[in-house]
Symmetry: C2
Subunit: 332 residues, 2 copies
């Protein structure tokens, strides 16, 4: 008995693939006209919309030996939802441009849609996919654009932090980087090429770390909560706490002083992709759960530039988070 | 004297590249918060937005020997603007996800931005780029999402054509396909590989045809004009007149009868990428310029299915428009 070859995009064509995928995609409550016309129409009750786009590319951003198609759909949704949430907005709709090799199995695309659907259901109920584009490419590329509604509030920018504010974070820090370090170290074969079996075994043994990397669960609901609670500045921690805190400091013209005692932040200054929300609140405000205080906003000291200190001392200048860039392992 | 090597994305990094590109991108009148935060905020005065996404991939969708970076920026904007216009909406904002090889010259990205800016200025003044993403990929891929405002009108869908309507088109038909046929035939070297010098020469000799293919000028303003004039159905003709007319016929449950006499449509039934607007108007309405009547909407004949006839006779079943798919020439 031989296995049936998997049915691919090339076998059945774009139209048939879309018919298979559409029913699995999440519905958007805000959709007035859904997929199938030249464009979708969605409700924007606030009369302003928040919009962001983020791309994941096979190779630079993910390995198919490590990420299942379901993971990719989940992560593509979650990371874009987090950018909307970081403005204090409620995500309402996604559009998805997928460009994939023609020999991609249709079952992978169905699993991708399942991942998007379940991420929306778990993280941003009511948000759904209202449109997209499916094309052929040698390089599997996922470009998602997300839209959100501000529900009457002001957008929370990076530039609003003021001395006297407290600094707080919602969501996990550090787990995604630990997961990726595990995958780099032990999710590869003897030649250093990403290996699906080893990755699955790692995920069973370290589910929190590996899942935080491959299918993150950022606290999307906390974004609008922060806005309602008077957050003065906020962003999505995607490149590491130190680097992203510096972005708020520089945009706001302040010093952000992170406190290590009792916060655990000393262990998680670097290492990205957590998609936690980092926010500043007026010192007089109650910081709403799930935010927890990890520092405070200070004036810039005379002779200094806006930036980040840790327990009052200048933080090192290591920035950035591009773990694949310098990795010599195989393509996977 | 040796030429300086071109400065690339790899040389100067994403942040510096973005600083070079941002000033060249078109500003959006509707931008309340522009690029630089987790997301942009744009005005949606109608309280509904139109949204569409479309991708161009090196190889399946364009050849860099034929399209300049400026052309690519222009076309990526124009095709997405056309999808917004085809809903009867006025384009307000674009977001652009570019994933490119690390050795792409920065000057190419600047020219790409110039093309987007000038396309918006020429075709949809006031629409601009409010955000984006720049990443590294082995395959040059351009994913654009466009947003539009309905300005109080109803969206014009594909499904609203009714017997008694007239069928009209705004914009060019057939030129883009002629341009591509010229490029396939004479824009290649002896081995069939796309050749930049030959393409430039062709463009000087056949500027209308080649430019219609590489940098189309769809009549974006005609979309809202059609909506205000009571258009019952509309779409962007991207896959050829016959196939796209059939889409309206099937969505609306009607027959669309195209007339060849005096319309020139017999020559342009196939061949896509014109991004003309095909619309239906009530037979009693004045058809607004620049639309010109090319047919009429009829009931479906007993025993027939919704579809397209030409001068009352069933049109052939040839559909689709994927000129690169079966082409054996080199990658260029």
């Amino acid at each position: 008995m031989t296995a049936e070859p998997a049915e691919t995009l090339r076998d059945i064509g774009e139209t048939a693939v879309l018919q298979r995928i559409f029913p699995r995609l999440p519905q958007a409550d805000a959709a007035l006209v859904g997929p199938g016309d030249d464009a979708a129409v969605i409700a924007a009750p606030d009369s302003r919309i928040v919009i962001t786009t983020d791309t994941m590319v096979h190779g630079p951003d993910f390995r198919t030996a490590w990420s299942t198609p379901y993971d990719l759909g989940w992560k593509a949704a979650a990371t874009n939802l987090a950018d909307v949430a970081a403005m204090g907005a409620t995500p309402t709709a996604l559009v998805v441009a997928l460009t994939i090799p023609a020999d991609t199995p249709v079952a992978d695309l169905e699993a991708f849609a399942d991942g998007m659907r379940e991420a929306c259901a778990a993280l941003a109920r009511g948000c759904g996919v209202v449109g997209g584009d499916l094309g052929v490419s040698p390089t599997f590329t996922i470009a998602v654009t997300a839209i959100g509604d501000l529900v009457g509030g002001d957008p929370v920018l990076r530039s609003g932090a003021r001395p006297g504010d407290v600094v707080a974070v919602a969501g996990q820090l550090g787990l995604a980087a630990k997961g990726l370090a595990l995958l780099f170290a032990r999710g590869v074969d003897r030649e250093g090429v990403p290996d699906a079996r080893r990755a699955r075994n790692l995920r069973s043994r370290f589910p929190a770390e590996v899942s935080a990397q491959l299918a993150p669960r950022p606290p999307i609901y906390a974004g609008p909560v922060a806005a309602l609670s008077g957050a003065t500045a906020m962003l999505d921690v995607s490149d590491g706490l130190l680097l992203d805190a510096r972005r708020i400091a520089q945009a706001s013209g302040v010093t952000i002083d992170l406190a290590t005692e009792g916060t655990g932040v000393a262990e998680v200054l670097h290492g990205g992709e957590d998609h936690a929300l980092l926010a500043c609140f007026p010192g007089t405000a109650d910081v709403p759960p799930p935010f927890r205080v990890i520092g405070r906003v200070l004036p810039v000291a005379p002779g200094s530039d806006p930036g980040v200190t840790v327990d009052g001392a200048a933080a090192d200048e290591r920035g950035g988070w591009d773990p694949y860039a310098e990795w010599a392992g195989g393509a996977g």
